[in-house]
């Protein structure tokens, strides 16, 4: 590999790669993101390679393995370019047919097309799929164009040109000002102004001149995988952002803190770093500019709290991953007490495009105080699960219905939880709220790092609050009393409520506790932990009251508050339930109505699923 020694070298390499890229050539893109992999995309890829070889099409057809495209619900995904044909839920057996029909005979394999659930029509091209149509994939879009193991793929799309621009046409202060003017705010949860953070880091005194940049890829929120998608699918973009940031704050050493559960992200990132070093885009004298910077990957041990800035830094330093008081910001005294710029993966990935296109262009996207786009991981009771990137200011309703395709099985929407485990649950009335840092905080939730969980009418909000509280209780580091003891007690109270042991004073005690946990905890985990409880009490108080006063769970979820019974009129005595019941609580003779013994029943719900005649009732 020849080293890139000047911006001209980069420009000529980019031009060469673009020329080489045959836009006419057929390219089959296989998504190898986590979602598609679990659905079997590895097998699809192998048989695709085999088939192409068998039919001697290597010259004509190119295969590209990419990171996550976002539409994980429909994996494994194949994208055939240049036509842009979108095949979903492809299995190994489909491959010969795809090759014969689509590649050789130019015909569409109808059954692999995506069917619009509302119009019931088949859609051929990716760009017409409603899931993609309403998105604005500024940061995430390149994922489907890039093989993360190939740096040339990234460069051919203009990659690293923002770095060249920063290094050769701008001063560090200008870079910092550009980010400041763009209004970019941190995507990791706090929504802190990135430019301002860099400024305070740059201006903080450091006697030996050492400063650090860190990429936070700890991503511990349950159900969130945006950072993973980016890091696995487009690592160079994050690296480029970090180099630019390092230049702006004059740092020569960076760390990427990736959680241990992301081996593929670590592998891809390491490969990308090595390739960047070989090209001279990382390491000593980057692109001949005289600026040195390198990045080290550190694997976290998998504690949620290690995503918190001070705990993360302690963990890199080799200490216990435990937060410390932050009266002095980490931008002034962070890693090894040096000024440190810590940003989230997605924040770093936004940097190159801002430098490339300018602050003014970027700040036109989004709302008054929240600029750009945000990637959400849309999960729960929703038709289209996956990663979606939307401009700030889009309404929650558009995300749920236009992109997410609404709630499955004709159920009713009940709540949407944004902001990860310590976000809040918002009811139907607030669906028209724009996605914006401040608006979400105002109603008791938050942007967080981008988790978005949709719940339907069959969800019990008390149960949901209990789930998140338990997660936070277990993930609390246990250093400070309000968080450690407070969350433990909150879980106990909520457990009592869901078990029918709730008492009239419980809600008030919960509210009093939340106040202390929120205000007196040491770090962000404790300070935000009561949000799920507070927001569910605020918007679904009647559900709590039903549990406490009437000992009823309106959504029929909480086991201790429901009872199963068999409707004698509907029961045909087929015996399905009897055979399925794990504790033999159902008895009866064949063809006669069966009976259910409440004493033995453990309320597992299996009989409900098995009964072909809907004779099992819950009350």
């Amino acid at each position: 590999m020849v080293k890139i020694k000047s911006p001209e070298d980069l420009a000529s390499l980019t031009a060469k790669l673009q020329k080489e890229k045959n836009t006419e050539e057929i390219c089959i893109t296989v998504c190898m993101g986590p979602g598609c992999l679990t659905c079997g995309s590895q097998k699809v890829l192998e048989s695709l390679k085999e088939e192409i070889k068998k039919r001697d099409l290597q010259e004509k057809v190119q295969i590209k393995e990419t990171g996550c495209h976002g539409f994980c619900q429909k994996g494994p995904i194949l994208l055939i370019k240049p036509a842009g044909i979108f095949y979903q839920q492809v299995i190994k057996r489909d491959i010969p047919e795809i090759i014969t029909e689509t590649i050789i005979n130019n015909r569409i394999v109808e059954r692999l097309l995506y069917v619009d659930p509302i119009l019931n029509s088949k859609i051929i091209k990716e760009k017409d799929v409603p899931f993609y149509k309403s998105q604005y994939r500024l940061v995430f879009g390149d994922n489907s164009l890039i093989d993360p193991h190939k740096i040339d793929d990234y460069i051919s799309l203009g990659g690293y040109s923002a770095l060249a621009k920063a290094l050769f046409e701008m001063t560090p202060v200008q870079v910092m000002e550009e980010i400041k003017n763009s209004g970019l705010r941190g995507r990791g949860g706090g929504g802190f102004h990135t430019g301002r953070k860099w400024e305070s880091c740059r201006n903080a005194p450091s006697p030996d001149g050492v400063r650090y940049v860190i990429c936070n890829a700890d991503e511990g929120d349950p159900g969130a995988f945006m950072d993973r998608g980016l890091l696995e699918g487009n690592p160079h973009r994050v690296i480029e952002g970090m180099i630019i940031g390092a230049y702006a704050i004059s740092s020569n050493e960076g760390y990427a803190y990736v959680r241990n559960e992301y081996p593929l992200a670590v592998a891809n990132l390491n490969i990308a770093l090595e390739l960047a070093r070989e090209y001279g885009l990382l390491g000593k004298d980057i692109m001949g500019s005289g600026f040195d910077f390198d990045i080290l990957v550190v694997q976290g041990g998998g504690a949620f709290v290690c995503g918190e800035s001070t705990a993360l830094m302690a963990s890199i330093e080799g200490k216990r991953g435990e937060p410390r008081p932050k009266h002095i910001h980490t931008s002034e005294r962070g890693l090894w007490n040096k000024p440190t710029a810590l940003n989230n993966v997605e924040t770093w990935a936004n940097v190159p495009i801002i430098i490339k296109k300018g602050a003014e262009w970027f700040s036109q996207i989004g709302t008054e105080r929240s600029k750009g786009t945000k990637i959400f991981s849309l999960v729960g009771k929703i038709n289209n699960t996956g990663l979606v990137e939307v401009p700030m200011g889009i309404s929650l309703r558009d995300i749920v219905y236009k992109i997410g395709g609404g709630i499955p099985d004709g159920k009713k929407f009940k709540a949407i939880q944004t902001g990860g485990p310590s976000g809040g649950c918002l009811p139907e009335e607030l669906l028209d709220l724009p996605v914006d840092f401040d608006e979400l905080t105002k109603v008791g939730s938050m942007m967080g790092s981008g988790g978005m969980i949709v719940m339907d009418e069959n969800t019990c909000m008390v149960d949901i609050a209990k789930y998140f509280l338990k997660f936070l209780r277990d993930e609390s580091c246990g250093k400070c009393v309000p968080c450690r003891e407070g969350l433990k007690r909150m879980v106990q109270i909520i457990e009592d409520i869901t078990e029918g042991k709730g008492e009239p004073g419980h809600l008030e005690l919960l509210e009093e506790l939340t106040q202390t946990v929120k205000e007196a905890s040491l770090c962000g985990l404790g300070k935000t932990a009561p949000n799920p409880v507070l927001s569910t009490i605020r918007y679904f108080r009647d559900e709590y009251e039903a549990h406490i006063m009437d000992k009823k769970c309106p959504a029929l979820v909480c086991k201790n508050l429901i009872e199963y019974s068999i409707d004698e009129l509907l029961c045909t005595g087929c015996g399905s339930c009897k055979r399925a019941c794990p504790v033999m609580a159902i008895s009866g003779e064949k063809l006669y109505p069966h009976t259910l013994d409440m004493e033995k029943c453990i309320k597992c719900g299996i009989c409900l699923e098995k009964c072909p005649f809907d004779a099992i009732k819950i009350s």
Partner: protein
């Protein structure tokens, strides 16, 4: 502690005398409506205690690094018009801040913290005294019977004063505990007993007559004015 005793300072009555230090090394702030100038780098707790203001603490000890774990020392810090609860043992004094060490919010929070702690470790006399002092007469949580409030004093004592490191924290969240590495007796422990000496739970067991796992409150009846919080 030495301080500048100019007439003005003493007769002025309202403002507190400066700590005797270089001028440019001082910060002025307001603690409980009294203006005071103290040395940079001090914590609010140190400043307040120097002024004679009582702030209860549990995980703080003069000889050890402040840690900020128990949060009993919370005070209200008002900065640029925004009020926040902060642990005074770790919060460094800053120019122009206003501190309330005993506002209603502070009291309420401290009471909740003691209630949380005592429900978990009812045998600690330190905690029972604190509860009596604050007039806590009812515990609303299920009583447990633990012997550690995880204040970390022993861990810091062992490391910082005894220059050892035989004990440390293991696990996280509600499973957190103080122990030796892998629960095996530690090779570097000299058995000095400093950890036991400093522990607010083990050494000072409450001796009031009470049911096991109950709130004592005996002290409230004996000498109700003895607790200054």
């Amino acid at each position: 502690m030495p301080f500048k005793s100019t007439d003005e300072n003493i007769t002025g009555g309202k403002d507190f005398p400066d700590l005797y230090y270089e001028e440019d090394n001082l910060v002025s702030l307001t603690i409980d409506r009294q203006k005071v100038r103290v040395e940079k780098g001090m914590t609010i707790l140190e400043a307040a205690r120097w002024m004679g203001i009582k702030i209860p603490t549990l995980c703080y000890h003069e000889g050890l690094t402040p840690w900020g774990g128990c949060r009993l020392c919370v005070v209200e810090v008002i900065k640029r018009g925004r009020s926040k609860l902060e642990a005074s043992c770790t919060y460094p004094v800053a120019e122009g801040i206003q501190v309330k060490t005993n506002s209603e919010k502070v009291q309420k929070t401290r009471r909740m913290i003691v209630e949380l702690l005592i429900s978990s470790c009812p045998n600690s006399r330190t905690l029972q005294d604190l509860a009596s002092g604050m007039g806590i007469t009812e515990i609303r949580f299920k009583m447990e019977d633990n012997d550690c409030i995880l204040c970390g004093l022993c861990v810091r004592m062992c490391k910082e004063q005894m220059m050892s490191g035989g004990i440390g924290f293991i696990n996280r969240g509600a499973k957190r505990e103080v122990s030796t590495p892998f629960h095996k007796s530690s090779e570097i422990c000299r058995g000095c007993g400093a950890c036991m000496y400093i522990c607010p739970v083990v050494t000072l067991q409450c001796r009031g007559r009470r049911e096991p796992g109950d709130l004592c409150n005996a002290c409230i009846n004996v000498c109700p004015t003895d607790f200054g919080f």
